[in-house]
């Protein structure tokens, strides 16, 4: 592991069980998973395989039943709600399947509010400049004052990626980022995410059941029935 390729995300023997007794369902079983800085990892698997559980545990949103999760060297399983929120604010950027932009805010406001939350001591003008710069990077200069309802799905996802990267996180977690986009837009969005993540040396985990994601990943992990299997990107899944 080089200095540039430090461990950003580590899951160690992580299991997650919902419910108890006869109704208990284990969504993730003894998962071991590491992602390095500058690495793009695709987590693939069929619906119900535990992808969302893996993503939310990796995103410090859900605590595992067993095992530990470290993000940038911090054992997040030991943190309280406030500590988890702090890790999410400082270290993680999310890209969602359904974009999850705030409907009442314009594109630039959607990005700015996240920057503002991350850099609380900064000046408002700095937050605004950062948000504008990120949107320009993603070719959205003409959309800065548009509300999400006025934008295409591709534009919304680009704003969402700009928002995820705007706070300069170490880890990007993307949940089915192409699911609501047509093939062309999906390809564009993934290419943009890959390109920017590589430029900014981010660790990226993309959860998807879309086989086309593989071509953007350095590594592909297969998830089935809650168990992780390492596979080579050239392997065929379907």
């Amino acid at each position: 592991m080089t200095e540039e390729q430090q461990l950003i995300l580590g899951l160690h023997n992580v299991s997650k069980t919902y419910g108890s007794g006869d109704l208990a369902v284990t969504a993730l079983k003894e998962a071991n998973f590491q992602v390095l800085g500058g690495e793009i990892v695709a987590v693939m698997g069929p619906s119900g395989s535990g992808k969302t559980t893996l993503l939310t545990i990796a995103g410090a949103l859900l605590k595992p039943s067993v095992g530990t999760v470290s993000i940038c060297g911090v054992d997040v399983t030991a943190l309280n709600e406030s500590g988890l929120a702090s890790v999410r604010r400082e270290k993680i950027g999310f890209v969602y399947q359904s974009f999850n932009l705030l409907e009442a805010l314009t594109a630039v406001e959607n990005v700015r509010i996240v920057v503002q939350n991350h850099n609380r001591n900064g000046k408002a003008a700095e937050h605004g400049d950062r948000a504008l710069a990120m949107l320009e990077t993603f070719g959205l200069s003409h959309r800065i004052n548009s509300l999400p309802k006025k934008m295409s799905d591709g534009e919304k996802q680009r704003v969402a990626i700009a928002r995820a990267l705007a706070k300069d996180p170490d880890l990007i977690l993307a949940d089915e980022p192409t699911a609501n986009l047509d093939a062309k837009r999906g390809h564009e969005v993934m290419e943009l995410l890959r390109q920017k993540a590589m430029e900014m040396r981010k660790a990226v985990v993309v959860v998807s059941h879309d086989n086309r994601i593989r071509e953007f990943a350095h590594r592909v992990v297969w998830l089935e029935d809650g168990r992780l299997h390492e596979r080579h990107p050239e392997d065929r899944f379907y």
Binding site: G59, E81, R88, R89, N100, L102, L105
Partner: protein, 375 residues
């Protein structure tokens, strides 16, 4: 933070209008009722307080000016006059009664509080003349300006009770008790008009002291020396008169004030709650992005406070604009706006806003950010 609150709030203009309207209606009701109460409070005790007397004397057991059940011998006036600490003494004959204008049918009666006073002393007579002459002569009366306004009584009109009449010669101000007004005649006219038997009976005695600051001590001393009579300061007597009228209204008023507060709270609370439920997913997104609960609580709190502020401004504006029109249309609608009451209504609005935010905040606390990854 204000950005999210403001944008969310103004994104749904109809809901905002309902919410602000509900708070405004509540503020208007609270404001108008408080002003009305203050107006009445000011009005019903005003005359008693403004008569330039240091002490009022009434028979023991008398509760107030308006019931006027006091009976005193006129001889007491002379007795008090010889007291070295007393400057002026004057007796009053006060009777509530119904009269009608001679030009109107006998059934078109209205209430007056007839006050017979000694014009030579002047105590207990008209406070401020608006029109005509004072003191009135034999068979003449000075009416209050509210009597003129409400019952169209003018100088030259005759007020009749049974076979007896009084000619209106003047109009004064300061004698309005909301549901009745004082009308001034000389003591002799009062005796004749009321066919008072014995004619030496008086209702109250008003007096001034050489040292007005000793009024309370003098009252105690005089009361001990005069069995059957009570001596009270104008403030005490005014307070008893206010209690007489407002004491019956106050419980009703409090109930209506509470209802108005609950209406405002319910409308603001429900609209902010539905807005919060509708935006649950977005609050979940913010939680996932690392925004802590305090930030989200502030968003809801700010929404509630903005709603409260707009509602207060609208409600207070409605009160200020509508109150004078109402007062002109309904004379009994006497309002008096005090800055302390404006502050009280503002405080009630803040409390309303805080309470309206409470349940939505509890809702936000329970939002699981994991849900934003579903669908």
């Amino acid at each position: 933070m204000l950005l999210v609150a403001r944008k969310n709030l103004f994104a749904e203009k109809i809901r905002l209008a309902i919410s602000v309207g509900g708070v405004a209606l509540s503020v208007f009701l609270i404001g108008i009722l408080l002003s009305l109460f203050r107006g009445w409070d000011e009005q019903v005790g005003g005359f008693v307080e403004q008569v330039p007397a240091d002490l009022w004397v009434a028979s023991e057991g008398t509760t107030d000016f308006l019931a006027a059940s006091s009976v005193l011998p006129d001889a007491l006036t002379a007795t008090l006059q010889i007291s070295p600490e007393i400057d002026q003494v004057s007796s009053l004959i006060v009777r509530p009664m119904e009269v009608h204008k001679s030009s109107d049918p006998p059934t078109d009666t209205f209430d007056i509080q007839l006050v017979g006073y000694d014009p030579a002393v002047g105590l207990g007579g008209p406070l401020r003349m608006v029109e005509g002459k004072s003191p009135p002569g034999p068979g003449e009366v000075v009416v209050d300006e509210q009597t003129r306004k409400r019952y169209d009584v003018h100088i030259g009109d005759e007020l009749r009770r049974g076979t007896k009449t009084l000619t209106v010669v003047g109009v004064a101000s300061g004698g309005d008790f909301v549901y009745t007004q004082v009308a001034f005649v000389t003591t002799q006219t009062a005796v004749e008009f009321l066919s008072l038997e014995p004619s030496s009976v008086r209702t109250f005695i008003v007096l001034t002291l050489d040292n007005p600051e000793d009024a309370e001590i003098m009252a105690q001393r005089l009361e001990r020396a005069t069995p059957g009579a009570k001596f009270v300061t104008p403030e005490q007597f005014a307070s008893e008169t206010r209690d007489r009228i407002l004491g019956n209204i106050l419980p009703i008023l409090i109930v209506v004030l509470i209802v108005a507060f609950i209406v405002g709270l319910a409308v603001a609370g429900l609209t902010i709650y539905t807005a919060t439920v509708e935006k649950s997913r977005e609050y979940g997104i913010l939680k996932a992005e690392g925004f802590g609960n305090p930030f989200l609580y502030r968003v809801v709190f700010e929404q509630s406070m903005i709603t409260g502020f707009l509602g207060f401004m609208l409600g207070a504006g409605m009160t200020i604009i509508i109150a004078p029109f109402a007062q002109d249309t309904v004379p009994q609608f006497v309002v008096y706006v005090r800055w302390q009451d404006v502050l009280a209504v503002a405080s009630a609005t803040i409390l309303m806003s805080l309470l309206a935010a409470y349940i939505p905040i509890r809702r936000i606390a329970s939002i699981d950010p994991v849900t934003v990854f579903k669908g």
